[in-house]
Subunit: 319 residues, 2 copies
DNA sequence: CGGCCGTTTGAGCCACATCAACCGGGGTGG
DNA sequence: CCACCCCGGTTGATGTGGCTCAAACGGCCG
C-alpha cells in the first residue's frame, strides 16, 4: 500500500528529499491519494529528524540521562526507538526538545514474554512506553476467567493516565511476546509534566485515544456477532500497527493465542477457533504461528463494520 | 448514610463551622469513618465557598459573561449549579479562580428529553457540563440497533476530550430526561486551557475517569451474566450519583427505559425485563416510573462484582 | 375514547458455552 | 537421540442463556 521504500540506511538529507518529492506529487491528486502522500511525506520528515537527533549528542544537562553517557544503550535498536518517537511527534505533537526531555528521563528495559509490567491490585509506580513487542491489559476474576480491556502495539503509551490513577491498579498489563519498553518513574513524570505542559497534553491525547478505542470495544462487545467482533479486532490492530510502521504491509506479527483472543472478545476459545476457520475459509485472513496476513482488507472491514475514524489522532483542532 | 443535613439556607460561616466540627470529630475514629467525616467536611467547605462565590459579583473583566450582568440567570437553580461545582473542586481540583473562569465562559441551556447535544457524524463545537438530568452517548448501527457507550449523571463533563477529537463525532449524546447543561464553545475552551493549565488538567482527569469507566464496562460486557451486568450498571450509576449528591439516599432518579438499559448492556429489552423482575423478586431493588430504590446494596454489589475503586477520583498522586 | 409508548408474558430457536477427547510441535530431561 | 510432556490448536457432542417473534396489557395524553 503506502510507504514501501526502506527508511533505513538513508541520511537525513536524502529522507527530506524523498519527503519533498511526495509533497510535490500530492498537488494534483484526489483527496485520499493526496492524504496518503502527505502522510508518507510526514513520516519521512520524521525519520529525518530522528536520524539527526540520534546523531547529535546533547544530553539534558539538568538531569543525568539514565543511559550513562547520554547515548542510547547499543542493544536498544534504532527501529525500536523509532516506533516510539514516531507517535511522540505525529500523534502527541511533541517538539524535539520535549521528546528529548521525555527520553532522557526514560529507562529502557527488556521484558520477557508473559512478564507483567503492572499487577492488578498493586500501585503504579511508572509510566511505560511500548517500543517493540505487544502487551495487553486485563482483569482476572475470582474464578480465573480473564477479560482483556486494552491491547497495545509499539508506539503506544501503556498507562498515560498513571498520574491520576487511584492507588491500586484495576488491571494487570502483561507482554504477549518478548518486548522492549521505556519506563519513566511517576515522580519524574510529574515534574516533567509540571515543567513542560506539552508533555501533560501528550498524555492527555493518549488517554483520549485510549478512551476512543474503549468505546469502540464497548460497541463491538455489545452489538456485534462473534465473527464481526473478531474481524473488528484484527482490523483495529492491523490499522494501529500500520499507523506506526507503514512499511510492514499486510503481513504482521500477531502473537495472541486463541485463548487470549477469546478473553479479548468475550468468547470461549473453542468458538474463536471456529470463527477463525470461517474467516480463513472465506479467504479473508491467514493466521499461523503468530503471523497474521490480511488477504482481503475491504471485505474484512465490511463484516467488522470497521471505520478507522476513531484512530485518527491528532485531531484537527489543536490547543 | 453520610451527609444527611441540609446545606440549603445556611450561611458560609455556618457551613464552615459544621465542617470544622466534622474534622474535629474525625480525629480519633477508625480509617473508614474518618474518611467519611473528612469527606463530609470537604463537601461542607465547598458549599461555603459556593455560597460566597454566588454572593460576590466580580465578573471576568476580559471576557463578558454570557449571563448579562455577571449574575446567574434566575431559572438556573443553585442546586443545579452546585452539582457541577462540586466535582469541579473535588474531582478536578480547580481553584475558585479557575472555576470562575470556566463558568463565566459557559452558557447555561435547558435541553428537552430526547434532544441531542451531539450528533453522530457531526463535528463537536462545544464542551458540555451536565448540571441536572441524565444523558447517554450511543452509536446507531445501520439496522437501527443502538449501543450505549457512556452514561452521564449531574456533575459529569460530557466530552472532556473534545479538544482532541477527530472531526466527526462517533456517537450521539442525547438526554434521558429534561436537563440543564453548561455549554462552552471549543474556541473558548482552547484559549481557557491555554491560559490556565489547571483547566487542561481538569479535562484530562475527566477523560481518565471516563476511560476507567469504559474499561469496567468492557469487563462487564465481556464476562458477566445478564443479571450481573444489570446489577453492575445500577451500582455504578447509584454510586456516581451518590458521589455528587450524597444527601439523596438509596432512592433516586433513574430515567432509562428497559430498551435503553438493553442498549447499554448489550441485551434485548425482553431479557432486561425478565432480569429486572428477578432482581425485584430477590428484593434487591425497586424500579418504577423512573425511580430506582436500592433495597440491598451489599447483595447487589455482590452479584455485580462491583468495587467502586475505579470511581475514586482524584487519585492520591497529584501533579 | 383511541392511539401510543413502555412493560409484560409465552413459545420456539439459535449462537455460543461447556465438556471431552485428540493432535501436533517444540522444549526438556534422561 | 528418544521419550515425554505441556501447551495450543482442532473437532465433536450436547447444553443453555439470551434472542426473536408475537400478542396482550396498562398508563398517559390528545
Amino acid at each position: 500500500m503506502l510507504l514501501r521504500l526502506s527508511v533505513k540506511n538513508r541520511s537525513p538529507v536524502e529522507l527530506l528529499a524523498l519527503a519533498a518529492d511526495r509533497r510535490e506529487l500530492a498537488v494534483g491528486k484526489s483527496a485520499t491519494v493526496r492524504a496518503q502522500l502527505i502522510n508518507e511525506a510526514k513520516l519521512l520528515e520524521f525519520h529525518a529528524d530522528l536520524r539527526a537527533w540520534m546523531q547529535q549528542t546533547e544530553p539534558d544537562a539538568k538531569r543525568p540521562a539514565p543511559w550513562s553517557d547520554g547515548r542510547l544503550p547499543e542493544w536498544l535498536l534504532a527501529a525500536e526507538l523509532a516506533s516510539v518517537l514516531s507517535p511522540l511527534r505525529s500523534r502527541m505533537a511533541l517538539s524535539i526538545a520535549d521528546q528529548q526531555a521525555l527520553l532522557t528521563n526514560a529507562v529502557p528495559r527488556r521484558v520477557d514474554k508473559g512478564r507483567c509490567l503492572l499487577e492488578q491490585g498493586e500501585p503504579e509506580h511508572a509510566l511505560f512506553f511500548l517500543c517493540d513487542g505487544a502487551a495487553r491489559a486485563f482483569r482476572t476474576m475470582g474464578d480465573g476467567v480473564q477479560q482483556t480491556v486494552a491491547h497495545f502495539v509499539p508506539g503506544d503509551v501503556i498507562n498515560p493516565d498513571s498520574l491520576f490513577r487511584p492507588v491500586a491498579s484495576r488491571n494487570s498489563v502483561c507482554m504477549l511476546e518478548p518486548s522492549a519498553v521505556l519506563e519513566i518513574p511517576i515522580s519524574h513524570l510529574a515534574s516533567l509534566a509540571g515543567e513542560r505542559p506539552a508533555i501533560l497534553r501528550a498524555m492527555f491525547i493518549e488517554t483520549a485515544r485510549h478512551a476512543s478505542i474503549h468505546k469502540e470495544w464497548i460497541f463491538s462487545l455489545g452489538r456485534l456477532s462473534a465473527e464481526s467482533r473478531l474481524a473488528h479486532l484484527l482490523c483495529e490492530v492491523w490499522y494501529r500497527r500500520f499507523q506506526c510502521a507503514p512499511e510492514e504491509g499486510e503481513a504482521f506479527d500477531f502473537p495472541m493465542t486463541q485463548q487470549q483472543l477469546a478473553d479479548t472478545l468475550g468468547l470461549s476459545s473453542v468458538h474463536v477457533n471456529r470463527v477463525l476457520q470461517s474467516l480463513r475459509r472465506q479467504d479473508l485472513i491467514a493466521l499461523r504461528k503468530g503471523e497474521l496476513v490480511i488477504k482481503n482488507w475491504t471485505a474484512l472491514c465490511d463484516i467488522a463494520q470497521f471505520d478507522p475514524g476513531y484512530l485518527q489522532y491528532p485531531a484537527p483542532v489543536g490547543l
